[in-house]
Amino acid sequence: MKLGSGWWTRLVIILLVALFSCWFLVPSYYSLFVLKREDRNKLEELEKVLPWWAPPARYRLSLGLDLQGGIYMIMRVDTKTALMKSTDKRSLQISALLKEKNLTAVQVESLPEARQVRLVAADATMAASAEKTLLPEFKDFEVASREGNSFVLQMKATEAMRFETNALEQALLVVRQRIDKWGVAEVELRKLGNDSIQVSLPGHDNPEQARDLIGKTAQLEFILVDDLYPDFFEKLYKENPPAPELGIELRPGPTLSAKESQPLLDYVAGKAPDNRMVLLECEIEQQSPEMMANPNASGASSSCSNYLAHLLEKTVSMTGDSLASADVTQSEKGNIAVSLSFDAQGTKEFAALTTQHAAGPGKKGRQLAIVLDGVVYSAPELKVPITNGQAQIGKDFDSRPREQQLAEAQMLALVLKTGAMPAPVSVGESRQVGASLGDELIKKGSYAAVVGLLLVLLFMAMYYKLTGLVVDIALVLNGLLILAGLAIFGATLTLPGIAGFVLTLGMAVDANVLINERIREELDRGNTARVAVDNGYNRAFWTIFDSHITTLFAAAILFWTGTGPIRGFATTLIIGMSASLFTAIVVTRLINTYLVHGRGAKTVSI
């Protein structure tokens, strides 16, 4: 390589890359060294202290749970059991419907493991008429086999799959609700495969509380909204004003609203009248289109933008057990509603409930709150008595954008649909690290990294002299690039990640050793300094390329199969190997070429 105009371009590119890397490390620096410990996970706090020229706060290197303390959990959602229970329930509903239609002679047997219901009639005609009665009502079932006077109904595979997806969605919802109540700063929740939920709670290390997530299965309940104390919240607010820093406001309704659930719950605790209780409704933030398109994305801190207080009766009017189905429907005019239907038992109960409390001549309809796991989802007014077990909730969805209405309706349908049949959730894996251990690991990890790096730098300079110093420059730049790369990808720094960092620097040396040994060989053959440097780089290139690619394979597979901290290790290794290609092939070459071509050195200090 001769020194031409390309040389300057390369130099500028390298300097730009180095500068860019430093620039990208600014948020990480502020996050780790300027921010107070407890604010470390709060992006908005970081945003406040960052200078105007710094990159956005989300490009920061955050500490993994093993370094800052916290809980990492994998929760397994037993969708299979829920599906079996659902089959059982459907078989009960089938036999109830048959009884209603006077087909009492048909025997109904549930085969939950196969998602099947076996029906045995007295004769073939009766079997045929039972089938004709059932199929239009139970659209999620199809006939699996017929034989004389008996036939088997099976839940459609697509329905079963939808049920499992819903069960997972609902478990996610309930877990999120329960975590919301703790007020943890940065919770990360994501679906893992089709039956697991991954929960990360940085800075939170109380495993006892974590068990609350699975302790009780979520209950779906219908509870009447109070009508005896309409001005309860207004009076409470006026007589006993909350501290302004709690952020509790009086809203028309009248009701109370707050950004955080805990202060609001504390404020109203013990103040409800006899036989009344206060539950909160979660107002969902307006979701951005990309968030809705990607429901797997972690819902950063909390899905609620606001909490509304409701005063409810203490007695539960109905539980979700008797709910048969729920779905989002759209009328011809395009109005979005959620329709629900009850089974035979539920129809009776719901008829009694609505007859008593619906609007009528001279009386206002009561509100019936839909409550899942202690959180109010909707509180529609009972407008007319419903005796056929088919109800519609047309919440005032009108004023907001259509996508949001639909999302809310779907959420409500999900709550109703699976709320009656929650899937049992268990902890598959849980890793909890105390903050003090994390601090110690950071200290030891950085010592280890510094010692390893210094030893390598020192050795290189001693062994290869001036060229060794060039290698050292490349190595330092390499370390910088790895850190910046991790920050750009928003990766987390874990203890295995630090180990990966150290190891990667050790391995990055290899490329330089290959080149320098080649240069020495070329010199030994009697070549001039210029030829030796040029040949050394050219000949070593493919070896370096091949050896890096194979290490990248191993790292990629590690990333793909690993979880948690191990992933941190793999990420570091991948970024490090890519950075090493750049520093060895481009950076050191430029400097060494400059030394022999630009400065005209007749010998190579190697």
């Binding site: 495993p207 280890a448 190891l503 620097l505 394979f553 590690l558 290790f569």
Partner: protein
């Protein structure tokens, strides 16, 4: 500074029999050791609870073990970690909750004497019992009847009346970590301690993680072989594969001999060794390919030997520097990270050895074998 002043001409290929003997012996020893001694599987793979605990004052592992045994933790394993003055220990327990099938059966029988049970379901994985009684019962009674010294109850929850008749209750048993805490508090009265880390892995997840780990190693080996076959020549593949397997087996030997915990970090170490091993082998292969083009007609074994010699200083240097970078981790690393660094350390040397004494000779043999087939055609 140079490792070798002059060009070296060691006869590596000539000594392959000795090397082969040593390698085979070591590998066979490890293979024999796996069923005989077995790995010390961590909770990642075997399932269970792992607790890291630190005392402000000196405590011996025996004292802790004794306190645990008295508290009913028969299978408690205690291992000191870090420096002696850290007073840190890793405690491992096989189970995950205190509820065992026997306890559940006992509890069921005891409750049946007091109340009419409509249903009873023990969820052993979560340490929960869900039950439904015909009539309303006293939670205190359930607490009394279901709890024992070994299986302490954390809470009895009244879930209210069921729609289909009966009353639902849920008994929540304490987890193993809590049981351990109770046992240690009782057994080590004077000692304060801090629980620094609790890892819990369910038995099913453990099995999954194990399969995933094995799959990862196999995929990595296959991907690398495919790449070598694509970039080089078919005859280079088996040598590289054999040397990967050789290195993995010997690093496994480290975990077998030291009985350090074999967990996910160990798999990460194995995979990194695989990457490193191939890296090392490829550098020699690359040189062989280059010299084959330059020195046409020379016997293949000679070319291989020459290539190994030419790359020898690089091989030693790279291994040395990579090992050097690990020294910090070996000094300051505790627990898993120390094991990772130690396994890598051994892996680096084994990988260096195997690319010279395993990968290259195998390639020579294959060449000879393939040559024999080709010769008649050439004439």
């Amino acid at each position: 500074m140079r490792i070798f002043k002059n060009k070296t001409s060691f006869n590596f290929i000539g000594h392959q029999r000795v090397a082969l003997f040593i390698s085979s012996l070591c590998c066979v020893a490890v293979f024999a050791g796996i069923p005989l001694v077995g790995f010390n599987y961590g909770v990642d793979f075997s399932g269970g609870t792992l607790v890291e605990i630190q005392f402000p004052e000196t405590v011996s592992a025996e004292t802790i073990k004794e306190a645990g045994t008295q508290g009913g933790l028969a299978d408690l394993q205690v291992q000191g970690i870090g420096a002696r003055e850290d007073n840190s220990f890793l405690l491992r327990l096989g189970g995950t909750t205190q509820l065992t099938p026997q306890h559940a059966a006992q509890a069921e029988a005891a409750i049946r004497l007091q109340a009419e049970l409509k249903s009873f379901y023990a969820d052993l994985d979560n340490g929960l019992i869900n039950l439904r009684t015909a009539n309303k019962v006293d939670a205190e009674m359930l607490n009394r009847e279901a709890g024992t010294a070994e299986a302490a109850i954390k809470e009895v929850r009244e879930l209210g009346e069921s729609q289909s008749g009966g009353f639902d209750y849920q008994i929540v048993f304490s987890g193993m970590a809590e049981k351990l805490q109770t046992a240690l508090k009782a057994g080590l009265k004077e000692q304060k301690f801090e629980i620094r880390r609790v890892d819990y892995v369910g038995p099913q997840v453990g099995k999954q993680l194990k399969n995933k780990g094995i799959a990862a190693l196999i995929y990595a080996a296959l991907a690398i072989i495919a790449y070598i076959a694509f970039r080089f020549d078919f005859k280079f593949g088996p040598g590289a594969l054999l040397s990967i397997v050789h290195d993995m087996v010997l690093v496994l030997g480290y975990y077998l001999i030291t009985q350090r915990e074999f967990n996910l970090t160990a798999v990460a170490a194995l995979l990194t060794v695989v990457g490193y091993s191939v890296n090392d082998t490829i550098v020699i292969y690359d040189r062989i390919r280059e010299e084959m083009a330059r020195l046409k007609g020379k016997p293949f074994a000679e070319i291989v030997n020459l290539s190994i010699n030419e790359t020898l200083s690089r091989t030693i240097l790279t291994s040395g520097v990579t090992a050097l970078s690990l020294i910090g981790l070996l000094i300051f690393g505790v627990g898993e990270i120390f094991d990772f660094a130690a396994a890598m350390f051994i892996g680096i040397f084994v990988a260096t050895y195997s690319s010279i004494f395993v990968a290259s000779p195998v390639t020579v043999w294959l060449e000879k074998y393939l040559d024999k087939d080709k010769k008649p055609k050439a004439i």
